[in-house]
Amino acid sequence: MKSIFNLFTSVKFTIVLLIFFTLSSGLGTFIPQQRSPDEYVARFGQLANVLIGLQLTKLYQSLWFIVLLCLLALNIIVCTLNRLSPKFKKVFRPRLIIKTKELIALKIMTKLKINKSLDTTKKELKRELSSRHYRIKETEKEKKAFLLARKKILGWFGADVVHLGIIIILVGGITSGLGGFKKNLIFSEGEVLDIPEAGIKLRLDKFETEYYPNSSVKDWKSTLTILKKDKPVLSRVIEVNHPLSYKGFVFYQSSVEWDWTNPSVEIWIKKSKNPSFLRKIKLKVGEKVRLEYENTQIAVLYFFPDFVINERNEITTRSLQPNNPAAFIEGWQADEKIFSGWIFTRFPDYSRIHSNKETDFSFELKDFKTDQFSVIQVRKDPGANFIWAGCTLLMLGLFLAFYWSSREIKVILEEMFGKTEITAGGVASKNKDAFQVEFKKIAANLRRLN
């Protein structure tokens, strides 16, 4: 038991853990995580079974990684506590009576003789130290006076505060992992969805997509209303980066999905022999429209948002995103089919229209319209507040550790034949050079008493 405890108090063990942790997290970035077994077999062949067996395919959620994380947490806790109690004692209940040789052993120390009485010297020294914002404790014993002057004592605890922050962050991570809740809601405008976990219903009043002039997406905005017992309690517009919080539940604008069940398209018709001829028609897929020209009817038979011809030579859609919108159109005169073919929004030059009869029509698929679903993610993350508290402590601790230099000066004053002999030594947690300069200045100011 004792040897296990000793292991956890050792910094060498920390270093081994840090190295292991670093290497294994790095490994996880080179193996795609959380994919299907087939994908691993396709990519790694025989090796796939080994990877899956060692849980390297879900490394950050694997038992051994979590054990490693717990060992590190335990190591941090044990090391910090182990150092903390002597440190507390030193800082809050310091030993005032010390031996001269303890001071002589310090790197920053000095010995002085002042031609004044002990009381005068001590008064002057205390004045000097207070003017430099030192706080002083003193005592006397056997005609010797002992001074302990300190400032910025919190600087000694920088690393401990950092460690506490990290532990709280880990606690937050565990809390999120165990108590978190996440759900994707796919809404169309006007729809009300029940969220029993939060005891509320959510209504999407309005959904709009904003575009940049170059037609890339600028933002998605959803107007949400929270209903409690079917009564609206809160209405808010949310967009990406601006979620809505309600009693621990947070609603995020996640993305959009397209509803391709009933799209409509806008087609521009031109005639090559007549440049001024332009007809813009809007119609739904499956609909037939009569042009007031040469008694022609036109119909859109199919529409694919992301047109592709697959390995089996079938025409299909690669995704539900409108990456390559394409429509298949047919034209009729009386009962005779005169043309048919595919037209593309992004690639008008690739449009292929097969004509059975001499015509000079050309077609462009200018636009399409369809409903969009707003995808709203609902989350409850009980760990998040721990994380922010931990992060605050972490930064505070780093600041204390690097920039809040604690300084401590110990002085023994002894009266000898009306003169005072001073032995002084000092310690600083950081920036020892600057401390040495201050220390020398204090000594020089005292010497001026002579």
């Binding site: 942790f21 670093t22 940049y212 600028k218 980066n241």
Partner: protein
């Protein structure tokens, strides 16, 4: 005057500065290095105006693609160098450091980097873009500075050990301590910008503060390497060579987080 001309002027000034610095290394005339320093400073001014113009021109923080972020990193690095030089006086680190900046600037102006400003995708439209990226890159600039001083330490230390009498300037102790000072600045900045601001932004934009995305994981790895540096140094008293090696590895990890993840590993951070 447009942004790209100002950028090129800054680039040329940095190159002149590097030439002066290197001639100082050979001639040992501190005067030359002093002029080199002034050139770098004037370059920084031009570069600052270039970044401001870029911000006005594209209407968002100037680090949304590789060209912009490289330009900003070079700018932050020069600023970091000027701060360290003003405080600790290590002119000899100048030539090597300016060389890193020139490499970054050259990469930024290479035809491989698309330079046109593109509108921001929804996830990037947040003031956290400013906070997260700028603070992180500043941290990395100080890591770069620590890298240079660590490498110089390794060389100086070797030379001092070989010819025992010769004390070089700057001394190996000074280089070791400057390297530590740079990490003492870079580490808190990187923690704040890279990890904490990153987590806050991820929470606001994606709804989770941590998702083991490769960029996140590699930031954490970088952080752990520097944590290792601090523990071995402060608790175990490993100064000198081992410390210098760890600082160098830390910078390489930061470099991989910055470049490697974008080009080699796919993830949530694949923006530009």
């Amino acid at each position: 005057m447009n942004e790209s001309i100002l950028f090129q002027i800054a680039f040329i000034l940095y190159v002149i500065s590097a030439i002066l610095y290197f001639s100082f290394l050979f001639s040992k005339k501190e005067n030359t290095a002093g002029i080199g320093f002034k050139f770098a400073f004037v370059g920084l001014l031009f570069h600052t105006i270039a970044l401001i113009l870029r911000t006005i021109e594209c209407g968002h923080a100037p680090f949304t693609n590789m060209y912009e972020s490289l330009s900003f990193l070079s700018w932050a690095s020069i600023l970091a160098y000027i701060i360290i030089e003003a405080k600790y006086k290590i002119l000899k680190a100048g030539p090597y450091f300016i060389l890193i900046v020139i490499a970054l600037m050259a990469l930024a102006s290479s035809p491989l980097m698309p330079k046109e400003a593109t509108p921001l995708v929804p996830a990037l439209q947040s003031y956290w873009l400013w906070l997260h990226v700028s603070v992180t890159l500043f941290g990395e600039a100080f890591f770069a500075m620590a890298f240079i001083t660590s490498i110089m330490y390794l060389r100086t230390d070797l030379r001092e050990k070989k010819n025992k009498v010769v004390k070089s300037s700057p001394s190996s102790e000074k280089l070791d301590s400057i390297s530590y000072r740079c990490i003492a600045i870079g580490f808190p900045l990187f923690t704040l910008g890279g990890l904490i601001f990153g987590m806050i932004w991820a929470y606001k934009a994606w709804g989770r503060y941590w998702s083991w995305d490769p960029k996140e994981t590699w930031s954490l790895i970088t952080w752990f390497v520097f944590a290792l540096y601090l523990h071995t140094r402060i608790v175990m008293g490993w100064k000198g060579r081992l410390s210098a090696y760890i600082a160098a590895i830390g910078f390489l990890a930061a470099l991989f987080t910055y470049f490697g993840v974008n080009y080699l590993l796919a993830g949530l951070h694949s923006y530009g």
